[in-house]
Amino acid sequence: MRPGVSLLLVFSLLLCTWAENAEDSPFRAVILKNGIHALAEQFPDFPLVHLVVAIRAGSKYEPAVQRGISHLMEHLILFGKDNTGQSSFSERLRERGGFLNGHTDRDLVTLEITLPRSELEFVVGLAREMTFARRFFQKDLEREREIIRNETAEVQDNPELRGLFVMLNHLFSGHPYARSALGDVTALDSISVEEISRHYEALFRPERSAIVLVGDVEPEIVIAGIKERLGDVRVPAFANDRESVAVPPLPPLTESHVIERSMDVEQAHIWLGFRAPAYNHADRVTMRVLSQMLGQGGYSLLSASLSSRFQLVSAVSMNYQALEESGFAWIHMVLDPGHVKRARNEVMRFLKYFRTMDFSLRDLPPARRRGVFDFLATAENQLRLRSETGGEDGMDRALSYARFLLLNRLGKPKSFLERMSALSPSMLRGAAGDYLLKPPHVMVTVLPEKAR
C-alpha cells in the first residue's frame, strides 16, 4: 500500500543486515521450471504462515508517461474486485483472519499475506491468482486513483519523508530512480485499465517472480504445494513491448545540489544524500558498517560529534539503502531552525575529519588502547544485534528472502557477518572517501514556515 520510501526506511533500518545474513538460515529453496524462485522456511512457535510474492516490477520499469502505474497496479491487485467481480482479495482474506499488504519500491513490487497456519492451501492458491491471473476493472481503477491522490498528499505532509523524496529526486536525476514510486498524480489520471493489464502481463511473469513462505509448516510440504499450484504457470512466449523498455544506465552526478523547502512544522530537518554501493557491489557490507558506525544508535560518531560541546542537533542518524542499480546513503538531522547553518557546516567538517580519526582499537598500538572508544567494534555488535532482532518477525524474514532471491547476482556469497569481520578501519576510511567525501552530494533542508 505505502510504497517506496516506507519500504526503504523499514528495510534499511531493520531488515537489510538480516537479509544479507539470510543465506545462513535453514530453508528449502528451488527454482521451478518456469523460472519462479520458491523458498520455504519453518518458523516455529506461532501458528501462522507469512507469504510474500515479489515481482521485478518496481517503478524503474515504468515508461516516463505512466509514472505510478506499478503502484496503481499493486493497489488494484490488493483492493480491486477479484476475477469474479464479486469481492476483493482483501475481503476474502478478512473472512479467514488474514492480513494483506503490499509495497512498490524502485526495484520490486511485493504482496504480503499473513494467515493462520490452517490456511496454507488457500494462501498458495491465492498467490497464483494474484500474480498470474489477475483481471482489472474500471471502477476499481477510478477509486484507487483517488486513494493514491490522498496517499501522495499524506506523504507530503510528513516532514520525515518529504525531504527524503526531494533528495532522491536530485540524487538520481535523469534516471527512473529519481521518481517517487508513489507516482505522478497527473500521469495516473491518463492510465487506462488496458494499460494496467498490459503492464501486468509484461512484468508479472514467472521468471520475474519469487514466492516465499515462512511459517509453522514443514518446508518440504510448502515447496511441494508451490510446485503443484504454480509449476504449470506458462511463461508467455510473446516479447511484450514493456520488456524492451530497458532500465537506462545511471548518469553520473556531476555537481552538488543544495535545496530548501518549507513546511508548517516546528523543527527543521536536513538531509544530506550520497550515491552509495548497489545491491551486488563488493562495498555493500563496508557501507553498511560505515553508516552504522557514523549514524546509528545512541553512541554513533555523528551524534557524538554534533552534540559533544553544544547540542547542535536534536537527533541525527545515517542510513543506507542498496538498490539494484545503485545505492544511496543519507544523513538526517532534526534541529532547531536557528542551528541550521552551523549544523550544515559542522557535518561537512566532520566528514572531512573522519578520515583522519582513530575510531577503532585496531588503529592503535596496544599501549594506546586503554580507555579508547572502539566505534568499529560497537558498530559490529550493533549490526549483529540488529541482524538477530530483524529475524524475529516472520514477515520480515520472508520479505528479506524474497528481495535476496530476486536481486542477488553473486551466487552464494559469504555471510554478512563473515564479510563484516574481514573489514579493516582503512577499508572504512577508503569507503568514506569514495562515497561520502569526494563525489557530489545533495543537501535538502526543510525549514518551518513560521512558528505556529
Binding site: 506461532f46 483492493f79 505532509d157 512544522v265 523543527q267 580507555g371 514556515e449
Partner: protein
Amino acid sequence: MRRNTRTHSGFSMILCLLVVAAPARADIPRSPRTLQTDPPLNIVFLQDTNSAVTVFQIIIPAGIRTVPGNLRGLAFLAARAAMEIPSADDVKKLMEMGTQLSSWVEGDCAVLSMTTLSDHFADSLAILASMLNRPLVTKIRLQRIREWMQYRERAENDSPRTAVMQAMVDHFLSAHGYGGGGMGCEATRTAITRSHVINHLKKSYHAARMWISVVSDLDAEQVQKQLREQFKLTLAKNPPQPPPPATVSCPCAVSPAGDSGRKLLQPLVAWGMALPSLTAKSFVQARLLARLLAGGPGSPAWRLRDPLGLAYTVDCEVKHFLGGGVMVVFLRTGPQQVARTCREMETVFAELVETGVSRKQLDAAVELEKVDWRRRLQPKRETAWRLGSFAATGLGIDMVNQYDLCLDDLSIEEMNVFLRGCLSAQNRHRVILGVCLDPEEEKQ
C-alpha cells in the same frame, strides 16, 4: 486438468494431516513463568529461541499519572535519569557490546528496557544494576534530558497523528491524571528540580514494586543464575507506599478542538471515544471494537475508503490505562472532502449504534484479532512489554496466551452493549487538524 485435480487433492490431504497432527504448542505456543530470586523480585520469564537476543525490561508503576500535573514530564525525566550511565568505562563496555538501552513512560508505568546479544547479557545486566543502585542525577544531566524532551515534544507536535492522539487523551483523560503527555511542556519541565527527580526515584523505583520481564533464548536456569549473580539491587527494608494518582491539574493540555490553522495537504479527521478502566475484559473488548470498527477491508469504516474513495488512511488506535482509556478513529482526507468525510463517518457510527454488529462481523473480527495478536508478539521486545505490563497492571501474565480464549468468551450481546456505550454520540469527540470546517457545509 485431471492431473491438477488429483495433485491438488494430494496437497490438501497432506496439509490436513499436517494441521491435525501438529503439536499442541500451536495453540499455546510459549508459556511464560515467574522466576524466584533472593532477595525476592517480581520476575516473569519467557524462553524464545528465534534469535540469540535477550530483552530485559523493568516495568515500574511510576507512569504519567503518578506525578502532579504541574510537574508533567517528571515521570519521563526520572526514567531517563535512571538509565544515565555513571562511568565512562561502563559507557564504553555497553557500547562495545552493542547493548541498547531505552526508557519510556505510559499512563500507568515507566519502562526501562535493555536489548542485548545473549552472549553479553550477564555483563550488560551487571552495569544496569549498578546504574539503578546509584542513579546519576546531576543538574547538567537533567538539563540535557530536558533539552531532549523539548525536541520530542516538538516532534510529537509536528506529527499530525501524535498531536491528535494527545488532544484526545487530554480531552478524555485529563480528569483522570493522564493529560499533558509524557514530555510535559516548557513550564512544567522548568518547574522540575533535581530533588523532585530524586524523590520520585526513591518513592517509586523500589524493587518490591517493580516487575521484571525477560524474553531470551537462554533457559530459565541460566537467566535466574545471572539475575542472582549480576542483578544485585539494593533493597530498602520498608518499601514506601505507592504515590496516589496525581490530582493537580496539568497546564500542558493541547487544544481539544485541534488546530484548524495547521497547513496540511491532507487534513486529519479523528473521532475519540472514552473507554472504561483497564481490566482484562475491557482490554479485549476495546481491541476487538477497534478491529470491528476500522480494522481494514470489510470493516464499517473501511467504506470511506472503498467504495467512497475518501481516505487513504482509515484506522483505529487504543490507549488504555487503569484509570480509563481512549479509542481514536483516524481518517486522512482531501481538504474539499472533510465535510463529506465527517457526514459519512457519523453515519457509520449511527448505524452501528442502531443495529450493533452481526455474528458474521464479530466472528471475522475475532479471527483477525487472534492472528494480529500472534504476529505482533513475534518480536521479543513487544512480548516482554506485554508480559511486564500485564503483570504490573494486574491483568496477569497468562493474558498473553489466553487472549484467544478471552476473545472466544465474548458474547455478541456483551460486545454490542460495549459498542453502544463507546460509540454513542455523547461519548464521541471529534478533532480536525488542518482545515476550518464551515458548519453550513457540514450540514449539507
